[in-house]
């Protein structure tokens, strides 16, 4: 479309400004990770790798990282199974209440996190504690899986709709039974969408704070470790390093997921969770 040169320049300036707004804080935290001083005044006083070393050898950080990895892996695994089952049901079958499924899957992430967190917390305390199951890694995984299902579901449904059913029909016509068709036709067609969804679910779980604070009990995931240590001034240099680490660890899966699905015509996988 035609735009006056002045309008174009204005749009460019606006774009640059917004991008700067998005990235400057991330750059600032990266600079602080190399700060030799213990205090947070600006300007920082040079460059050092000392805090990376300390963070690496910090038992609290290591435990929290390990907990986060286990929680994210567990939640992603559960979400992969539940999300793809629901996606196959919705994309390949007609049944009463089909439209409700998408709504139900989206709900845990559309409602404010504090509501989801509190609801799960109340249930765990009322229902699970009589059986001797306290808050811990298990409840964190249950909570994270609940809101991770939507990412897998959205990716899988989009892929199934796009690939259509003709290949599956051809497979049955050639004598394959349901399992063979699933293993050799449907699953291979879904794989990259599931990997992309899985990466996003992992990133989503790895970063989550609000639901986690309600379900973790005494377990510390990496974000919870950061939250607790923010109030301890002598830990802040290590918090800076961990922050950079967390940003990098969550951006890489998102980038990969985007690359995996960007080839298709029907939109990127990593659009906001509600965006179908």
């Amino acid at each position: 479309m035609y735009l006056t040169p002045a309008t174009r320049r204005l749009l460019r300036a606006g774009t640059a400004l917004t991008l700067a707004f998005i990235y400057v804080p991330l750059v600032v935290i990266a600079i602080y990770a190399f700060n030799p001083r213990r205090t947070l005044g600006w300007p920082t006083g040079g460059v050092t790798l000392e805090w990376f070393d300390r963070a690496f050898h910090n038992p609290g950080v290591r435990d929290a990282l390990w907990t986060s990895v286990r929680a994210a892996t567990g939640a992603t695994a559960i979400a992969l199974v539940l999300g793809s089952l629901a996606a196959i049901a919705v994309a390949r079958h007609r049944f009463f209440g089909r439209d409700t499924i998408s709504f139900l899957v989206v709900l845990p992430i559309a409602l404010p996190g504090i509501v989801t967190g509190m609801a799960l917390n109340a249930t765990f305390r009322e229902v699970l504690s009589p059986f001797g199951v306290g808050l811990g890694l298990f409840t964190v995984i249950v909570g994270h899986a609940t809101f991770c299902v939507v990412v897998i579901y959205n990716n899988a449904v989009a892929r199934l709709r796009r690939t259509g059913t003709s290949l599956e029909e051809a497979s049955s016509d050639l004598g394959a039974d349901t399992w063979q068709t699933f293993r050799r036709v449907t699953l291979p067609a879904m794989t990259s969408a599931l990997v992309a969804g899985g990466l996003l679910a992992f990133a989503l779980s790895f970063d989550e704070v609000i639901v986690t604070t309600f379900t973790a009990g005494s377990q510390q995931t990496l974000p919870i470790w950061i939250l607790t240590n923010l109030s301890r001034p002598n830990q802040l240099p290590i918090v800076n390093v961990v922050g950079v680490l967390v940003i990098a660890l969550s951006m890489i899966p998102v980038y990969l997921a985007h690359r995996l699905t960007a080839g298709g015509q029907s939109g990127p996988a990593a659009t906001p969770p509600l965006a179908e």
């Binding site: 600032v28 005044g41 600006w42 404010p112 609801a119 799960l120 970063d207 965006a275």
Partner: protein, 298 residues
């Protein structure tokens, strides 16, 4: 075909089951949905129901124990108490301010991505906006804490001009929320603007509409559903947050009160009652947004 070479021992059983299921599509759907629905309905909707019921319990003021008798005293407290009313109003006002700010910041970049940038630049910009959307929420808030603090980079940059930054408080909360949810506004808005056919904009120009006119009469009305779709995020996320206000201000938001009542005060019934406030606001908001066509832009 390799399928023939499968071990034949368990194939008949598998094939029989496959045939059995093939003839019963309803059972197939049932089996597919049993897991996901079981999980979401029992673990999630069940939990929401527990929460809703808990809102009608009360706390014994002497023993500090939850009494499971039903009454509306928690809601009475919320309506009658001045402090709670002010907190609700403050939260909603900040959520609205954040939404407006994000629309203003998102529009130029979304329009540039949708209508001006080359394919390559557009793909790059989409990734550039997506990656921070998914990257650690907590670290981003913390970064702003460092930037806004007394001897931080903002005051250092503003000092030569003889002014100082906002410090911690409501302004900081507004700024940080706007920062956090900005990508959630850019992406739906970009998708919405991309759907406007170029020919419509050209037609408006050909018919004598000046750029400002085209913007007001063609682009804005057509982008409105997308803006509303984005505002669902900016609104809902602000209403449910308690960590940002805690880190960059000392004022209370709905989330803080809920969190304090679950944790410190151990008053689950009151917390549950207060948590219904953002849910009700969001449900009303979603209904209005649906009427205005925002759901097609989600």
């Amino acid at each position: 075909m390799t399928a023939v070479a499968e071990p034949s021992a368990r194939e008949p059983a598998g094939r029989r089951l496959a045939g059995f299921l093939w003839r019963r599509p309803r059972l197939q759907v049932g089996l597919l949905l049993a897991g996901p629905l079981g999980w979401l309905v029992i673990a999630y909707l069940g939990s929401l129901a527990v929460l809703f019921v808990a809102a009608f319990w009360r706390l014994d003021p002497f023993s500090g124990e939850v009494v499971k008798e039903y009454g509306i005293q928690n809601f009475q407290t919320l309506v009658e108490n001045d402090v709670y009313r002010r907190i609700v109003v403050r939260t909603v006002l900040i959520a609205a301010a954040v939404t407006v700010t994000d629309v203003l910041l998102a529009f130029p970049i979304a329009f540039y991505m949708a209508k001006v940038a080359s394919r390559r630049t557009r793909a790059l910009l989409v990734v550039a906006v997506l990656m921070p959307l998914w990257s650690s929420y907590l670290v981003k808030v913390y970064a702003w804490r460092i930037i806004l603090q007394e001897n931080g980079i903002l005051n250092w940059a503003l000092d030569p001009l003889g002014i100082s930054g906002p410090g911690f408080g409501d302004v900081a909360t507004w700024l940080v929320f706007s920062y956090l949810w900005l990508p959630y506004m850019i992406l739906p808005l970009y998708a919405g603007l991309e759907r406007i056919p170029d020919s419509l904009l050209d037609a408006s120009g050909d018919l004598g509409g000046r750029p400002g006119h085209t913007f007001r009469r063609v682009i804005l009305p057509m982008a409105l559903p997308a803006m509303l779709a984005g505002s669902i995020f900016t609104f809902s996320l602000t209403l449910g947050d308690y960590i940002t206000p805690q880190l960059v201000s000392s004022t209370q938001f709905i989330g803080n009160v809920v969190y304090a009542n679950v944790g410190v005060a151990n008053n689950l019934p009151l917390a549950a009652a207060f948590a219904t406030v953002p849910v009700v606001i969001m449900v009303v908001y979603l209904l209005v947004a649906r009427r205005l066509g925002a759901f097609e832009s989600l």
